[in-house]
Subunit: 295 residues, 4 copies
Amino acid sequence: MQQIGFVGLGNMGGPMALNLVKAGYHLTAYDVMPEAVHKLVAAGATAAKTVADAVSAAEIVITMLPGDTQVKQVYMGDKGVLNSGKKKTLLIDCSTISAQVAQDVAIAAATQGFDMIDAPVSGGTSGAASATLTFIIGGKNAVVERAKPVLEKMGKNFFHAGDHGAGQIAKICNNMLLAVLMIGTSEALNLGVAYGLDPKVISNIISKSSGRNWALEMYNPMPGVMDNVPSARQYSGGFGTGLMVKDLGLAEEAALAKKAPTPLGSLARQLYQLHDQAGNRSLDFSSIIQMIGKR
Amino acid sequence: MQQIGFVGLGNMGGPMALNLVKAGYHLTAYDVMPEAVHKLVAAGATAAKTVADAVSAAEIVITMLPGDTQVKQVYMGDKGVLNSGKKKTLLIDCSTISAQVAQDVAIAAATQGFDMIDAPVSGGTSGAASATLTFIIGGKNAVVERAKPVLEKMGKNFFHAGDHGAGQIAKICNNMLLAVLMIGTSEALNLGVAYGLDPKVISNIISKSSGRNWALEMYNPMPGVMDNVPSARQYSGGFGTGLMVKDLGLAEEAALAKKAPTPLGSLARQLYQLHDQAGNRSLDFSSIIQMIGKR
Amino acid sequence: MQQIGFVGLGNMGGPMALNLVKAGYHLTAYDVMPEAVHKLVAAGATAAKTVADAVSAAEIVITMLPGDTQVKQVYMGDKGVLNSGKKKTLLIDCSTISAQVAQDVAIAAATQGFDMIDAPVSGGTSGAASATLTFIIGGKNAVVERAKPVLEKMGKNFFHAGDHGAGQIAKICNNMLLAVLMIGTSEALNLGVAYGLDPKVISNIISKSSGRNWALEMYNPMPGVMDNVPSARQYSGGFGTGLMVKDLGLAEEAALAKKAPTPLGSLARQLYQLHDQAGNRSLDFSSIIQMIGKR
Amino acid sequence: MQQIGFVGLGNMGGPMALNLVKAGYHLTAYDVMPEAVHKLVAAGATAAKTVADAVSAAEIVITMLPGDTQVKQVYMGDKGVLNSGKKKTLLIDCSTISAQVAQDVAIAAATQGFDMIDAPVSGGTSGAASATLTFIIGGKNAVVERAKPVLEKMGKNFFHAGDHGAGQIAKICNNMLLAVLMIGTSEALNLGVAYGLDPKVISNIISKSSGRNWALEMYNPMPGVMDNVPSARQYSGGFGTGLMVKDLGLAEEAALAKKAPTPLGSLARQLYQLHDQAGNRSLDFSSIIQMIGKR
């Protein structure tokens, strides 16, 4: 089996790496937190003490990092992937970062003889654990094909969005739209309820009409309408408000760079920021209905 | 067959009344425009010279009018339905108006011994012609059941939203949310395209992800993604920007009356108003992407 | 001295009526709350048991009421001013209400031989007590002149905005803009402070630059910048958030009726509504900076 | 007299440099456009062929550049100011750029033994020509004092906002607020006019009330209210919409970096972006009233 160097073993990276170990890959693991590495070692991985250690012998390098700064450092730092890895190594960055940095890193990588894709995911920690993540991928066709076998051990759906950075862009376009759907749905349900309509009845009507959308149908924010969603458990679990604020920030940044207007996406960001700083950072993002509906 | 008095024979009311004549009802028709009445007479209806004429002998009265003012006048005017119709007559108002007026009229009707429902529709002129409209209904259960047979001659889907006015509320909640979906989708697609993504590819990715919604999947605003939608024909046909502005105004009014926050719905109304007054009133509402995407 | 009938003796109307009594007018006072009438009687006014009692012998009628509903009832109800007052009586409505109702009432009054103006005020309860209110007036020139002497006993500044209803419109235009200034100023100060700037320094710089405005210079929302403003006393006193929400609702309604776009004014209304329902209704409206600035 | 190296001789930098030549300074001038240099030489300056040429013998270096990229290159490039200038030289960057880059450059400069301030200006090309600019300055007290004599040859008002980058932050806080004032004022005036009020009358009322602000009083956007402002000359001259979009982008970026909410500032940016891309980039920013008021 192939040698994988895996850097970044947090809530997402940890279970993703674990699935690769289970699938039989020889995995060398690195994280700034030693405990995160210990867990992987207990499952059969080899510990690395530095990024360079993790990637120097790898045929495939996978990274799952918090943001732009870490990605730049891990790949382009003095002892980073581009300086320590073997040429021709396949580099897969699963972090959600700015398209700009994704492109910068991928171009630097290509220039130095690496194959690289950006492959941010959706599906959350439960998708990471159950290997059912969705990967949204940017990069060359041939490299995407090369990556498929290993990605299939971690996920279920794969979308090739375009060239370098396109995975990031497609992901934040989706998530910006999701924020808009969630707030819009919350407003519509709350308005109906303010006039005495039953939230199940109005949800059902809209779900069969032109207001139909994922937030309403699959992730209804109004308590009492659906089971097994965060609104049924006081908004615990799910996709945190703080993470939505991060993704909306990436979308704003991307839109700003291209002067692409996003009036609703921008206002959604502001509202999520207000919701976050009112003390709801760790609640699921569907809890925004509490800001809309408090009366 | 039953006697129907039909008032309001415009773009929507005309074909709806025609379907009732075809279904064998004895229909007496009134409109302020005599030509509209002539068309119905040619199809077998009886002409009425006044609202009173149209409704005095009817067992069922159906109205399809432009707004609050006309509904109040036709029902509550000196020679209006409530003064001219027989007690126990079934009154069906299909106009899209404010919930407040819908409730006021229905309560006045009930007080005087009539059975009334508010039954605004969606589906547009093509749905009216093909008798495939969706009716969103407010009123008592028994009255809704009484109305079903005649509604089934004009439409295909029937939702009972709640008591008097609930049909109006459910409809504007849906349409407010639809406006938000359409603008949000336009922003997301335009942002993706600004970064070089193929609009079909990004539409496909989002349609299988959490940004999925009716506007994206069934009515894509970006030219070149779908056939048989207004964006494929320079935004002709469909649901006009001016009508969306009207419905968003009703939603704003309803939200204002209950102090229900609608930050995205309100901003959507402002953007549609700007789009309307920039000369796009008669273009389909998906043309808002032209405001977002002009570069 | 002239006979005045005064209806509506709340936080504003009470001290206004008192100033007229002190100025020597013969005042007959009515309010739905008997205690409010008692206070005036103790100061020398005559008690009225009904609106009709208060106005039947008056040469001038002044009203200060909470909203549209009360104004319609007091003027146009069965035993209201128009039915109980003497023809030629000067009618002064100081309530802040919709322009539509102001016009409707004024036209009905004129038709029946009364002279009427709408004269909403600004200056708050302290302005009412000290007779330094600002009156923004709609109505005919001659009637405005006729009203001046009595208005001068209650206020200091008088603006004639135009014909019937113009006083209301000018007032809500001002107050909508004020809400925008207050939130915009809060955002700018908070942003500066987030970068370590001293709030006094940045306030001073902007107050001498093109961002200069009343909220910044006279009513700074950031604690520590000014004395003797609500931000210096935990946002107590001043102009309550709930009252701002009311005025922003009137502005929205007025804009909706004329299809006049107000994107910032509308968003300001949404933000004040969110602030209100988060438990801040009775705090001064400059407390909105707490929503913006919480970190 | 002191030796000044001046880099960036555009619409603003050109007249600023000219004022320094007139004041007797020995000025060596550089710009990427040779014609811009010629003009200065004709007035008595010395031409430089590179940035290094312009600054190598200077006691004071002044730069006026379009954006982040140019500032980084001119100061930190291989043959840039920090590598070519003499230690202890006073560096004054008058460009409007991001606070982040301003801080980065200033810190790099300090580390290498230079004295640096950021000193963005307001006042436009006419202020540059007449030496009446306002300078908003970030940097150490002693350095600001050292810079005063030369700044006084180019401007009239000087604000010391704080440490490195503070000049940029204070400027964009002001300009973000200005955009909000301008749109809010446009909405209020347009709403008043929609109800038949005279724009001069309502402007006068608000200018004496709590809606008072710089845009209304000094730069009224409604044609016919004031002379000698852009609205009196079809919005030619003044501060271009495109420049406002740039400044609002810097404000958004700064707010994003600190997670500081700016709901109205952000929406103002979106509206100016829409106005810009609708073909109004070179019109004065008060022309936004045309977007609001078209009917």
